[in-house]
Every structure is written in C-alpha cells, then in structure tokens.
Symmetry: C2
Subunit: 247 residues, 2 copies
Amino acid sequence: MGKLSVTGIGPGGYEDMTVRAVRTLEACDIIAGYTVYVELVRPFFPGKTFLTTPMRQEEERCRMAFLEAENGASVALVCSGDAGVYGMAGLILKMQEAYPHVEVEIIPGVTAALSGAALLGAPLIHDFAVISLSDLLTPWEDIARRLENAAEADFGICLYNPSSRKRKDYLKKACDLVLGYQPEDTVCGLVRNIGREGEAVHICTLKELRDTEADMFTTVFIGNSRTREKNGRMITPRGYRNERKER
Amino acid sequence: MGKLSVTGIGPGGYEDMTVRAVRTLEACDIIAGYTVYVELVRPFFPGKTFLTTPMRQEEERCRMAFLEAENGASVALVCSGDAGVYGMAGLILKMQEAYPHVEVEIIPGVTAALSGAALLGAPLIHDFAVISLSDLLTPWEDIARRLENAAEADFGICLYNPSSRKRKDYLKKACDLVLGYQPEDTVCGLVRNIGREGEAVHICTLKELRDTEADMFTTVFIGNSRTREKNGRMITPRGYRNERKER
C-alpha cells in the first residue's frame, strides 16, 4: 500500500519547514508538486525522484501523485506554506475514494500569514481573517462581501494572491472596500518573497496600499483599528481593553 | 548584546516544530515561557536553563525574558502554536524600546488553526477567520460582532479559547450567533490536545456543536456553506465555482 503525504513546506527555506515535513521528504520515494515549489525543496533532498506539473493543473497533479502511491510508492505532495490553506489537502481528500489503497496524511506548515507576520512584527496578534483575491474559483462578489464584513468587524486582514497579470487592480478594489469601514491611516504591511531571495517588507497606510502594485509573490496585511507602527514594526495589541502600563 | 527570540513551537510535539525553532532552542542559553509550554519542550532540550511564569502573567514573563537578554543571555521565549497569533510577539515588540540593547526576532510556528485542520482533514482550504472567545482582553460585544460578520460572509471559522471555567456557555452563545446566518447542519469539527497526549478529533453539525462542552485545550472549526464531511474528514472546496469532475 502506498502513502500520499500532503506536505506544507512553509515559505521555502529549509529552516522554515517543520521537522515532520523534513523527515517526510527525506523518507519518501517521490516528491511531487507544482514546479516552483518542487524547485524550492529540490536542493535539500538530492537524489529523490521529482514529479512536477505546471500552475493550475491541480487535479492532474493530484492524480499523478495518487497513481504513483497506488503503485506502492510513498509520495510527498508539496504545498507552499500550509498543506490546507489554499493548498492541495482538500482536493486530495475529495479524490481519495477513487484510490482506496492509498493512505493519505496531511502535514501542516507555516502559511504565509504567519511567516509574513513574523517579518513585519506582530500584525496578527488578535482575531484575523485570511482572504484570497484570486477570482479563478470564486466570484468577485463573494470576495468583496468577505472584505467588507472583515473590515466592518475590525478583523486584522491578510490577503493572499493580491494581484496577477490579469487582475492588476484587485488590490486597489479591495482597499476601496476596506476604506468604507476603516480610516485611511490604518497601518498596513506588504511582504514579498517570504523566506526566498529578494525578501522585502514594507509598512504603509491603507491609503498608500491602495496605490501600491503587488505581485503574486506578495502577501498583504491590513491592520485592525488598534494596529500601530512602532520602530518599523507593525504591532497589533492583544485585545480591546487598555493594556496595563508595562513599565 | 543579548538576543530574545519569540519562538512559536507549534502544538507541542518535537516534529511539529520548525527546524528554525529547534535550532533556536538548541542554541539559546535560556528557555522562558508559560509553565505549560516550557514543560512541552523541556524533554527535547535537556541541560538548558528554564524560566517559567504562571498563566496570565504575560507582562511579567516578557520583562523576565528581556532582563535576562539585557544581561547578555540569548533567550528563547516559547509560545504555543505561532509566536504571533494570540502569542507574545506583540507584547515583546511593544516593550522593546525599554531594552534597547536587546535584539528581538520573531520565529513563526504552526498555529492550532493549521495543526487542528490537518487532523480534521481540510476545513480551511478557502478564506477563513480566526476568532478567540476569550473576553479577558476583549469585550464580548466585539467578539459577537466578529462572529456574526464572519458567518454572514460565509468564512470558515476557527475558534480559539472556546471555553474556560468562567465562560462555560460561550461556545453555545457563539453557535447561536452563527446560526443566525448558517444552517444547523453546517459541518463543524473539534480537535482536542493537538499533538499531545489525549489527542482527539470529532466532527459534528453546528446544531450539535451548540450543545458540546469544549475545554481550553480544544480548537473548534465551523465550516463554510460548502464544507462537507466525507469518510470522516471535514473538507472545504477550493472555491465557489463548481470544480470540474476529477475523474
């Protein structure tokens, strides 16, 4: 019986993987996944067999991994960040009944909301919402409703997929919706290429974020009404009551 | 100059820590934190100096860690799950300017939303909101508003701190608010003692969740309108458009 381990690898560096992910990738026969993610881990696991599919061929990628596992291999299907959050875990579990002899396990990883937050400081200390701006599988109306509800309830907001070639103005549209509920000087942050070459962080206001061009390797953070910038760090307090004076 | 590393250790097992967290705890002089979390890592790092404070003494805990670092030690302040999400990163960064000679770094970790989701299957594949039901630092009215907004916008919802001795009925109150927007048969999940002794998962409906007693070691997941149970797993689809037939 083969085994399929849907494995969140974190943002990309070896140190950002969990010990479980490292051991799984060391022990497996085949590392499968989207080309870009497989290339991130390839240097750390020389001598493995690698199987890749291009972007958007998610079902084909899952089927390929299942077929190898059905033939008795242990396969690690790698996902950037977490295995679940906008990852492959759901599709794999949905497809699983067609491959009854394959054991499936899900290995969580540090998603960009967490790794990006650590680089910015502490933007997600309190309640937060994670929203993808990609409308490939979700109508924009649903995305817009979530942005408005999250802003209205004063959640910290983390945006995945803030832009792409075909949706250059989505971040601007998202900011306009949030600006209906939150002031222009709301503290925001952008993190680019987390854990990879070209890593960069930037803190700005919501008004400035509206006119910022993000790319698909950027994760965006919109603070709640209590979030502040302090010494170049984005910090959200632990609650809504006044914290006692620390010192 | 001392160093203070706010370190997310994940749910508690060695394998759930990132390589960076392991290396940090191996290299530091002192491991500090809330007693329960320090006890989780103590067996993996024998021979270290350990400093603990009881629950709710967060500011005292941070001050203690800073003072050791100011004296030149490298200190790892451990947080369960992530360093940021309901963790100590914010308070540390807020207090940092009183200790200008201490270098601070934030090391992210796998928060319970991710580790719990992996055990349940794939509940958080799409947009989701993380909400704590603890009203120690946040008025219940703010928590209630977030629950309603998250439910109205059809977010997957992950609840932290669903109960405690003093707030036995908070999970019930939260479910009642969500039931104003989502049907009784909404798929929900509970995960108890993630990565620790006594780990247990349970899938139920929102109506059943309303009458479930959770404790403070439980993380609760409320699916969105598309979440389904399949073969004992909680699965949320990747989007709101119909996915193509897989096979």
